[in-house]
Symmetry: C2
Subunit: 255 residues, 2 copies
Amino acid sequence: MLNSGVKDSPQSELLAEEFGLAISLDEGKLGVKSGDTAPKRLRRSKAEQRAESLEQILDAAEYLFSKNGFYGVTLRDVALRVGIHTTLLHYYFDDKHHLFEAVFKRRAGVTCDRRMAALEQYEKEAGDHPTVEGALHAFLDPDFDLYIEGGEPWVNYAAFCARVSHSHEGAAMMAANFDPVVLKLIGILKRALPDYSDEDIFWGYHFITGALMNTLARTGRIDRLSGGICRSDDFPAVRERIAKFMAAGFLALKG
Amino acid sequence: MLNSGVKDSPQSELLAEEFGLAISLDEGKLGVKSGDTAPKRLRRSKAEQRAESLEQILDAAEYLFSKNGFYGVTLRDVALRVGIHTTLLHYYFDDKHHLFEAVFKRRAGVTCDRRMAALEQYEKEAGDHPTVEGALHAFLDPDFDLYIEGGEPWVNYAAFCARVSHSHEGAAMMAANFDPVVLKLIGILKRALPDYSDEDIFWGYHFITGALMNTLARTGRIDRLSGGICRSDDFPAVRERIAKFMAAGFLALKG
DNA sequence: GTCTATAAGATGATAGAC
DNA sequence: GTCTATCATCTTATAGAC
């Protein structure tokens, strides 16, 4: 396994767990039973080691890209943070673009699946009369829960996505991965607002995603502006307000 | 004066006008009467020439920074676009950071002054009973008008600001320049919503600015998502909806 | 898998000629 | 004011040793 940034870090073995989350993309893919009969897993399989190294690199890249964007991070920065040599990054990810894409894709599936599942469940529950606020809760809350409960890696990923969303390189990546969920939401909104034009509904979504991305970016602006009354990383506070706020906005568009 | 990107461009003399806007920061500062009696201004003063060169550089930098951010643009990119050598950029702006800051500051004052004036006028008109929607119109509309009527340079500046707003380098720049106007808006909102907590009001503003920045960024995402029904650069469509939408959101927070 | 060595090119910046 | 020449440094990427 790789060094963990700080040289000779004694607890480097723990990092993967510390940063781990119950939901993991790679779980199961490796085909390795973690329980087995081994005594406290003294030895790891090659596949496990590789997966762990990949995770550490992706964590570092995710953190740095979320702060400075694609061009603001060098492979040297990433390697230094992990405590390895840049050549190893090429070994694992070929080039910088692939690394960037890997960071995006690692968690994209998880958040999409959760939101899609929540939307589908809401559709069933609501039957013929979905509400805007109900749909928005189904769309937004699973994500907020992920960021609130998932710890630092997920919060970094959120900021990473916020950055990507305002960049041109990332627009295609966003579309390819998130469009199905968003269109699912749009579909429910249309049924909740049958007399609305598509234009009104899409602009409403545009406002929501703007507010959401501004939250995920955690720039610290609202902290200073409010003199500490609000904190950029107070996701629960936003979760509590955003669906109700935006639902009312929708209803007012034709009012 | 400088070359205008394309070598031997015959109409390079016209560029400054083409990109010019009625509102200009430098107007008046130069102490040069443009009308005078000169026959179609065959000769320019040194100061005028210098100002024009600066404008051309700033236009190019503004465009590029708005697309790729601070780290995604090299001085060579800027120089190439203007048709000059990088050393000249150092001559005018010292270093890259100063150039970036100059791009930001060139138009920051204009938009702030306009919005502040509109907010103050609204305060007078509304007297003791300001409304949320009224305050938001005063805050947002002058800016939208600027972007709609100001042409490409102002639209690029808008995208530039959107990018800055999600970056850490830019957070301080944003605060130093825009906080007074924003706090003015917050003050009016407080009077419009006397029973609201500061927290609710600041989070509401947070949502608004997110939606606004997402608009200014013009990433093209809403275009593809909506299959062409909405266009990223359709500022009038947003102007028409955003104040009403967000005002309703505010009113719903305590409802 | 991890490292050393190395290359080719880009980048921000300076000194000085014209 | 504008350009040439030059610099040290950084950046991505490859080949090959261990």
